[in-house]
């Protein structure tokens, strides 16, 4: 039985519709601690215009945001603050680790700098660079939108699926590297 649909009717799943709404109105929470924050501001400013991708509403309150962009190095005194802000954000929420310092500690391999926020927080996207260009950050947001479209559901159960809990390939490499590091330096 074939149904004749009018031209202005689209059939979709409710999940896909909700994900489509979500991905096009990301509200970023700027956690900018260093020079990456300048590029983050440039991304939101007129030249690069993050508004084209529906993510221009930067809010400094975690309760109003669903995308945390960690831009810059995080020291051990700052990490509890970062975790608290992440906990204050409502589901569904995503995290972009922007730049070498947030992702790996960068050149700051010292006692006080956390060697990658993904040791303590779930991270969805990593942006390489020192600091990354605004184009790179925009590309990561576009990729994150694809991810939200693929994985998002209206019930929020995407956060408990087995696939989501699997460590990312980069995280596996980090774990292997830290094992190497601990073999070299037992107090690590």
């Amino acid at each position: 039985m074939a149904l004749e649909l009018p031209e202005n009717v689209v059939i979709s799943k409710l999940d896909a519709l909700a994900s489509w709404c979500r991905k096009n109105s990301l509200w970023p929470m700027p956690f900018a601690t260093a020079c990456c924050g300048i590029e983050l501001m440039a991304t939101g400013a007129s030249k690069h215009d993050l508004a084209r991708f529906g993510a221009e509403v930067f809010r400094f309150s975690p309760r109003q945001c669903d995308l945390m962009i960690v831009a810059g190095r995080v020291v051990m005194k700052m990490l509890p603050v970062l975790q608290r802000i992440w906990s204050q954000m409502h589901e569904p929420k995503w995290c972009i680790s922007m730049g070498a310092c947030a992702s790996t500690g960068g050149v700051f391999d010292t006692y006080s700098v956390v060697q990658g926020i993904d040791r303590f927080l779930p991270v969805d996207m990593y942006v390489p660079g020192c600091p990354p260009r605004p184009e790179q950050l925009i590309q990561s947001i576009i990729d994150l939108q694809d991810k939200i479209q693929r994985e998002g559901t209206i019930s929020g159960r995407e956060f408990t699926t087995a696939a989501r809990q699997q460590p990312k390939r980069a995280l596996v490499e980090v774990a292997a590297a830290s094992q190497l590091d601990s073999a070299r330096n037992p107090v690590f």
Binding site: M76, S87, D109, Y111, V113, V114, P122, T160, N185
Partner: protein
């Protein structure tokens, strides 16, 4: 950089003969005995007019060539009206890492001494509020000492891990 005038140095060494004086590239440096530190500092401020304490910092001479003492505590003093500067040092060795605080003389020494305490573990006797200023309060090491490993002793990884479930 204006140096201390000869009259200032003469007055200081005449009153305190144990003070050692040296110069390098226009900078006058005096080494003070730690027993007389507070007395000399009071003299420098009260009689010689060094009314401004620019900075207090410390040097760890562990494994340093020809060094005889472990720590060198450095006071940078300035006489604003006469435009003079003076660098005063005190050498310290373990286990006696206690010096009298100069907060009664210069109120601004409060945070400077807290920083030296935080980074080097020098204890300032008589300080009104000797807590850590840069590191977290539960931190136990003194990170700018030369025997502290640069990558720490695991402090940067002692945190709870938040996953997707803990929100």
């Amino acid at each position: 950089m204006p140096m201390a005038s000869p009259g200032t140095i003469t007055a200081l060494t005449a009153k305190f003969p144990l003070v050692i004086k040296s110069e390098f590239r226009g900078e006058t440096r005096v080494v003070l005995p730690v027993e007389q530190l507070l007395e000399i500092m009071g003299f420098l401020k009260g009689e010689l007019g060094f009314d401004y304490l620019v900075d207090i910092t410390c040097v760890d001479y562990l494994n340093y060539r020809d060094a005889r003492d472990r720590f060198g505590l450095v006071y940078l003093l300035s006489n604003i009206s006469a435009n003079e500067r003076l660098t005063a040092r005190v050498y310290l060795n373990e286990p006696n890492l206690t010096v009298p605080s100069v907060v009664p003389l210069w109120e601004g020494a409060n945070w400077l001494e807290r920083e030296v305490y935080d980074m080097f573990g020098i204890v300032f006797d008589g300080h009104p509020d000797l807590r850590r200023i840069l590191c977290p309060e539960e931190f136990t090491a003194y990170p700018l000492r030369k025997d502290y490993p640069m990558q720490g002793r695991g402090e940067r990884h002692n945190f709870m891990r938040l996953g997707r479930d803990e929100t």
